[in-house]
């Protein structure tokens, strides 16, 4: 998945000479946490709700002497980390983490085309884990050699169930772990079929029904 698939657009950008007090009002109205600051369509800075909260406070990160009536230029972070629409999201997520920032403007050919936030990355991750379609979690461990996963998926298809997603949880020399989300309510019935075919199913657990 790429940045262009998850970014928010259009972007609400503000001019560098807007008074900080006005930016605070705008941020409240729009329920946004980041504003890129643009001049002639080009990104020159970014300001977050956290930056705005420090104005006039004793917060260690506040800029001394900056008042609410000053232009936002005096408060903004610059230069800005930017993303490209074709960046993979893991790349963007690692930049956000490494620099402890919450959002990056997305820039293509020097023009701002969107904004991508850590929440967008998290949402994408949730989507990738297959939330959405009604499904059951199946965990398997397979010998780590070509064709094993294909064989498993074929067997599930023959069982009559759709696979909503596949995640790799570990990949070691001789064994690979997978989490599948499969479109059936009867995960145990499917697990039984897989176990009978020799697969190592680690969820749902095998269980015997004791009797009175």
């Amino acid at each position: 998945m790429l940045v262009r698939d998850i970014m928010t657009r259009p972007v609400v950008a503000i001019a560098p000479d807007m008074p900080i007090d006005d930016v605070i009002v705008l941020m409240g109205q729009r329920q946004l946490r980041h504003f890129p600051i643009a001049e002639d369509g080009r990104v020159v800075g970014i300001v977050s709700d956290r930056d705005l909260r420090t104005v006039g406070s004793a917060h260690p990160k506040s800029r001394p002497g900056v008042k609410g009536s000053d232009p936002v230029r005096d408060l903004m972070s610059a230069p800005v980390w930017t993303a490209h629409p074709l960046d993979p999201i893991d790349e963007v997520a690692s930049l956000l983490r490494a620099h402890a920032i919450g959002a990056m403007p997305v820039v293509e050919e020097e023009e701002m085309v969107g904004i991508v936030t850590s929440s967008d990355c998290l949402d994408a991750l949730i989507r990738m884990t297959g939330v959405g379609g009604a499904a059951t979690r199946i965990e398997v461990e397979l010998p780590n050699r070509p064709g094993e996963l294909a064989g498993l998926l074929t067997l599930i298809a023959e069982h009559g169930a759709d696979v909503a997603s596949v995640l790799t949880t570990r990949s070691e020399l001789d064994v690979a772990g997978f989490v599948l989300r499969v479109g059936t309510i009867d995960g145990r019935g499917l697990a039984l079929t897989l176990r009978e075919a020799g697969y190592e199913v680690t969820w749902p657990p095998e269980r015997t029904t004791e009797e009175a």
Binding site: T136, R137, A161, D186, G189, L190
Partner: protein, 406 residues
């Protein structure tokens, strides 16, 4: 909305929706969903003399196009065609012809009858002729607007709730099935006059994968979708504690005119499809609580539906006998009649237990009991922390909250 308490309604018997047609269908040979468990339940209640004269009520037909209130016309058309053997392009896009929901002749009529039963049950309450009714054939809470899901083709619960909304009633839908009540939640996710509360095994482990604590409802429905996702192997005590922490508060905040209970019995520890570890004793305690809450909040008005339950006789029929006994204010005998146990052996050949309530000594405690209990407690606390501020806002404003538009 409602007419005041009438003594005739209070004295009128609870109604038990029953007709042989509700028990005779099945999705396929050896399918885990066994509608004949309703017949097993009926026979057990009769053997126990818990079926008063005048209790049994047969379903009345639905209105024309009533299914289309909660389902896409195209989907209903596809079910109808497949039901009579006509071709449909790619039935799998409707969730039909799958491992879970195979196509079978007469499927439309069979499940429409289940819907008719639940709608007839709620009408008995809406008309004031009784305050309590049960439609154990119903509770098909996974059916989606445009597709079958999780053995459920049509959503009888939502159809019934719509009848109550037509009269201006506020409905609290309480779902105790092991699986999240996704179909009903989705049907009323933006509706401020329907509260849905679901206690279920976490979607992280179990179908359908939804029912997270952050699913709260939107628009006028914000705060009125309540989800309590539980750890696998949750036992009676932790489950009841989660119930007690969340359900009474939600009902007090919402102030329903009627409670609809989905009493899915697949949370039982012997159920082959899910991983909760309840016993019939714990379920019995929950049913008693629901009846008390109905008395406290809505003049006793309560509709009980069935749901999941894949030990169909040994667990589902035995558990629902407790639900019905609670509904009519009686206790069951302590022993299950031997003749019934022999007649209703499980599909795997085992005989149902002799004890009406599960003997607690029969089951050793789960090894991670304390850890699981602690997690369940944390989940319930977090649910309230999210919801109570929203409820407080609603109560103060008196008008439904509307979220700002983006």
């Amino acid at each position: 909305m409602t007419a005041g308490g009438s003594d005739t309604a209070a004295a009128a018997p609870a109604r038990f929706l029953y007709h042989p047609d509700l028990t005779r269908w099945s999705l396929s040979r050896e399918h885990p969903f066994r509608p004949d468990r309703l017949q097993a339940l009926y026979e057990l209640l009769t053997a126990w003399e818990l079926m008063p004269d005048g209790a049994v009520l047969a379903p009345s037909p639905l209105r024309a196009h009533e299914l289309e209130r909660v389902h896409d016309p195209e989907y209903v058309r596809a079910v109808r065609r497949l039901s009579r053997g006509d071709r449909v392009d790619d039935p799998r896009r409707f969730g039909l012809g799958t491992a879970d929901t195979p196509v079978f002749p007469g499927m439309h009529e069979a499940v429409r009858e289940v819907c008719a039963a639940s709608v007839t049950a709620i009408e008995a309450i809406l008309s004031g002729s009784t305050r309590r009714a049960a439609s154990f054939a119903g509770g098909l809470h996974h059916a989606q607007r445009d597709r079958a899901s999780g053995f459920c083709i049509y959503d009888d619960a939502s159809l019934a709730i719509h009848r109550a909304l037509d009269r201006g009633w506020r409905v609290a839908y309480l779902d105790l099935d092991a699986h999240h009540g996704d179909g009903v939640q989705q049907a009323f996710y933006e509706e401020g006059r329907v509260l849905t509360v679901s206690l279920h095994e976490s979607g992280r482990y179990l179908f359908p994968g939804t029912g997270h604590g952050y699913e709260l409802g939107t628009g006028a429905g914000r705060g009125w979708s309540v989800n309590v996702p539980l750890e696998p192997f949750t036992e009676d005590a932790a489950w009841l504690e989660a119930f007690d922490a969340v359900v009474p508060r939600a009902l007090a905040a919402f102030r329903p005119d009627l409670i609809v209970l989905q009493a899915g019995a697949d949370g039982h520890r012997d159920d082959p499809l899910a991983d909760l570890c309840l016993t019939v004793r714990g379920m019995h305690d929950a049913y008693r609580r629901v009846v008390e809450l109905a008395d406290r909040h809505c003049d006793g008005r309560l509709l009980i539906l069935g749901g999941g339950g894949y030990r169909p006789y040994a667990v589902a029929a035995r558990a629902w006998a407790q639900a019905w006994a609670a509904l009519i204010g009686r206790d069951t005998p302590e022993r299950v009649p031997d003749a019934w146990r022999e007649r209703w052996t499980e599909p795997d050949g085992t005989t149902p237990p002799a004890a009406a309530l599960d003997d607690p000594d029969r089951y050793p405690p789960q090894p991670r009991r304390a850890l699981i209990h602690g997690h369940v407690r944390a989940v319930a606390r977090r649910a309230l922390a999210r919801l109570e501020p929203i409820w407080a806002e609603t109560a103060v404003g008196a008008t439904p909250t509307q979220e700002g538009t983006a």
